[in-house]
Amino acid sequence: MAANAENIKVLICQGTGGLASGAAAVAKAFEDEFARQGVEAKVGKRCEVVGTGCRGLCANDVLVDIVLPGQEAVTYDFVTPELVPQIVEEHVLANEPIAKKKAGPYYAKFLEKQQRIIFSRCGTVNAESLDDFLAHNGFTGIKKAVTMTQAEVIDEVKRSGLRGRGGGGFPTGVKWSFCAASPGKTKYLICNADEGDPGAFMDRSILEGDPYGLIEGMMIGAYAIGCTFGYVYVRAEYPLAIKRLQMAIDTCYEKGFLGKNCMGLGFDFDLRIKAGAGAFVCGEETALMASIEGHRGMSRPRPPFPAVRGLWGYPTNINNVETFANVSYIFYNGADWYSSIGTEGTKGTKIFALTGKVKHTGLVEVPAGTTMKEVIYDVCGGILNNRKFKAVQAGGPSGGCLPEAALNAEVDYDSLIKAGAMMGSGGLVVMDETTCMVDIARFFLNFTRVESCGKCIPCRIGLKIMLEILERITKGEGREGDLETLEDMAYDIKKSSLCGLGQTAPNPVLSTLRYFRHEYEAHIKEKRCPSNSCKDLLKFEVVEGACKKCGLCFKICPVDAVTWEKGGVAIIDKEKCTKCTSCYDACRFMAIE
């Protein structure tokens, strides 16, 4: 890096979020502008346009950092190609950052409580450049690992306290030791990059923003376990992640970092991508292996565990993307350093995907033990449109919804389970007073029902019956006794399903019943949706007293069903209204019901 420290750098987010917001056009605009103005000659320095991975604050993309030699980086958000000439003119050439266009103070606040370790390369270096990776500790971890015996490497991971980030939180070192202890020469290492949990996208960002870091973590795992072949199972919906990872793998083969005698370190490791094909259950490890073998992704009973009988019948170790990414950093800095971060039961940092009704949606990396409240309010700026917080859904379809009273829960495997949710992969969906909890339970059940592989009856039929009850309730057709039936079935399905999907699918129903029972009761007894959200129970009327006459509903209605004049109360024409709910979501005063 030293060689080009003198360069002017323009770091442009080229993650999926950045590209969706037009990052390619922004990058081109910078290159054109540098050429058109002859900027390099004027300033006597090379101007480098660098495509980085996700920076976390995807909602504010396109994010651009200008780094002038010897100065702190300055971040601009919502950058468009039109803004580029001004940035070049005033900032790059005249060294006067454009105060008005800089990312506001919320960006500093967004970063303040975070500790970006796993994300330290993601979003700051060129995701596609091996040189950048090497300049930022790249491959120093595996080099250190090979100076140790396999048992010592596993012991180091055990001492670090790292627990799997794929959901269950199983201690990684212990898992490795099982597979290492299995007899036989042929063993497989699999990275689970299926990320089926809707609302989570941290694994995708690591694949897109730091693919070499993942490869290094897998190399360390392969060395420790004594296996020579690895797969990364990536979901097909992630075309950019697959492309970047494939490029990184190809580069590693070219340079001799992968294959026979990796990097000359005396061990062999081959790595291949398997593209998934769109089935949530394939994230479950036995189903995932079936899928790699070319079968339907059906779970099978355990034991035998994969460490004993896995892919093609050989001992296999499966870890999540973020888990492998953590491994690299444990070997850069040592187990003692790693275990000094986090809580007693959960070491290191955890990446959360914050989405829903929160101001700054995005990816957040905080030390374990930070509270939910800090994550939602301090890092992510609190609730959108000054509405009231209602719940946060943690742990995806297998997790639960936590109410305000539980916001002091620390993000830690054990505290979250105590509160009635779980860490899961780390998706946090924030909900406000306009979100109906019965509808959310219905939503998750619909998801798990569709994704059930259908092998066992409680999961296949049971979820369907529960879903039908929930659908009735959201339509105002709930009956006395429904809630008791839901609860009974929930416990039965949890007990009798074969795999994790069925065993956890009822959780969203149970947690909403635990904390938001009154909402269910309002639907059943009063045929009313307290959040005014269930479409069938929504009247689409403006409440005169609540209407602040702002006209937002008028502006947003796509079919001109709202009449409003400056200073007047809005009126919805029920004939014209298509019940699209745009106005309902847009109104800041809860004046539409």
């Binding site: 996208f201 398997k274 989405t355 796509p558």
Partner: protein, 165 residues
């Protein structure tokens, strides 16, 4: 389901493309999925006549192939439109109004999940998560992602692709 798709099925399929894909993976363990993915990439869907071919050359039962084809959301047995509109129905998008985005698509194109317009231009697909949840609600048209969708923006995107060839 549109009948346009049915008509095309009667056409002859040139199996050379499928054979090329199979050649590429023939020696690989677990070749079935990559082969089917390759065939779908080549034809845009998995044409029926390729199934016996794959069965014979990879030495697997056609029933296993159909098992795989129907299990995974990704595979399609009918021709699809030129523009595949994927509407995310994931949690983050649901909370931010994915329902009305899907509603708009259905209303403007007259198709719903897994359907294709008569002119073979658009196919609608509702998917579990696109992985851009920070910009919910999200849709994808082929490989392009569009975030922070509203009914108006959805109209604009549809109009843009309608105007394209």
């Amino acid at each position: 389901m549109s009948n346009a798709a049915e008509n095309v099925q009667e056409q002859e399929i040139d199996l050379a493309g499928a054979n090329q894909v199979i050649d590429k993976y023939l020696d690989m363990k677990g070749a079935l999925m990559p082969v089917l993915q390759g065939i779908q990439e080549f034809y845009g869907y998995v044409p029926e006549p390729t199934v016996p071919l794959v069965a014979e050359r990879l030495n697997v039962y056609p029933s296993q192939i159909y098992g795989v084809l129907t299990f995974y959301a990704q595979f399609h047995l009918k021709p699809r439109g030129k523009y595949i509109v994927r509407v995310c129905m994931g949690t983050a998008c649901h909370v931010k109004g994915a329902g009305r985005i899907a509603g708009t698509l259905e209303e403007r194109l007259g198709i719903t999940h897994a359907e294709t317009t008569e002119d073979l231009k658009f196919t609608a697909e509702y998917v579990a998560c696109i992985g851009a949840c920070g910009m919910a609600p999200v849709i994808m048209v082929n490989d392009a992602t569009y975030g922070s969708m509203s009914v108006q923006k959805m109209d604009e995107v549809i109009a843009k692709y309608k105007a394209m060839e």
